[in-house]
Amino acid sequence: MSAEEILEILKNKFPNFSFSFDNSLPLESFLNVDALQLPEVCTFLRDDEKLQFDNLMNLSGVDDNNAKKEKDENGNEKLVGRTLSVYYHLESMKLNHKLNLKVSVAIENPEVESVESIWKSADWHEREAFDMFGIKFLNHPNLIRILMPYDWEDGSYPLRKDFETPEFYNGMKIPY
């Protein structure tokens, strides 16, 4: 089944939800889903007879780095609108079709519903996205760092575009 057909099924099932289909990038196209609607949509994608997305192949975080300059009432410039995204690569092993989802959230409050209860493989993937980008997955059973040391500084997420390497970690100098 093509991504367009899947989109039609979703629109009929969830008439109140907003989906937009993005094929602007020279990549596989993906479906934008609202962060709060994600668990409902994903449960449907997994359980529907015609879709049967039984495999979450990949889940990864992205820093979109898309902040725009804006002037506040005093005329001072500030950066607004930066988002973090989570990409989901779904596959139906039974029906052999694929779908990509994308959820974007503001960097000031990067909260996304966890899909760990839908696909178990999301467990570690979500921890990695949390560790590298600081995306908080609501209702994740064990949202702790997975790659960086447990005593790595809180609020320091290495794959964010504005990350700066700390001078020292546990007394060891880090920069070359």
């Binding site: 546990n170 880090i174 070359y176």
Partner: protein, 162 residues
């Protein structure tokens, strides 16, 4: 009459300096801590295997740091691992030696600029005796590193000379 004044009737006697004897014993039985980190560890395993045969120099992997003379830092040292390596090193009895194998262990390797998670050289944590360059070094290079270490041990002095 002292026994040194007599002629030795048994001809199976070798006379040497105790220093040379100890150094020779040490350099001929360098027990290596069985420990590997990344791609370099694969080359290290190849060096230990039959084709290159590390054993012929008396190098035997030991599973415990308390029985090891040398620790081969073979691969990328992440910050998370560095503290563990330091502990292993501290658990080894003296005299102990370190061979830093490969670019990552020497200076951070390809992670030198953007590797927020990599220690830029194991010598920031523990002292190194021999650096083996390469990425990863071939087994021949590691053998050469070991020969260099043996040379260093051969020239060691038990007491300080003026």
């Amino acid at each position: 009459m002292s026994f040194l004044d007599q002629e030795f009737t048994d001809n199976n006697i070798v006379i040497t300096k105790s220093e040379d004897l100890l150094n020779w014993a040490r350099l001929s039985s360098i027990w290596q801590l069985s420990f590997g980190l990344a791609c370099c560890a694969i080359e290290m395993m190849a060096t230990s295997a039959s084709h290159y045969d590390f054993d012929r120099f008396g190098v035997i992997p030991r599973p415990s740091p308390r029985q090891a003379d040398v620790i081969l830092i073979s691969g990328t040292v992440t910050l998370k691992m560095a503290t563990r390596i330091k502990r292993l090193y501290e658990q080894m009895p003296d005299p102990k030696y370190i061979i830093s194998m490969g670019s990552c262990a020497n200076c951070g390797g390809p992670y030198w600029e953007h590797g927020y998670h990599v220690l830029k050289g194991i010598d920031r944590v523990i002292p190194v005796d021999v650096y083996v360059p390469g990425c990863p070094p071939r087994p021949e290079a590691l053998l050469e590193g070991l020969l260099k270490l043996q040379e260093k041990i051969r020239n060691e002095r038990l007491r300080k000379t003026a």
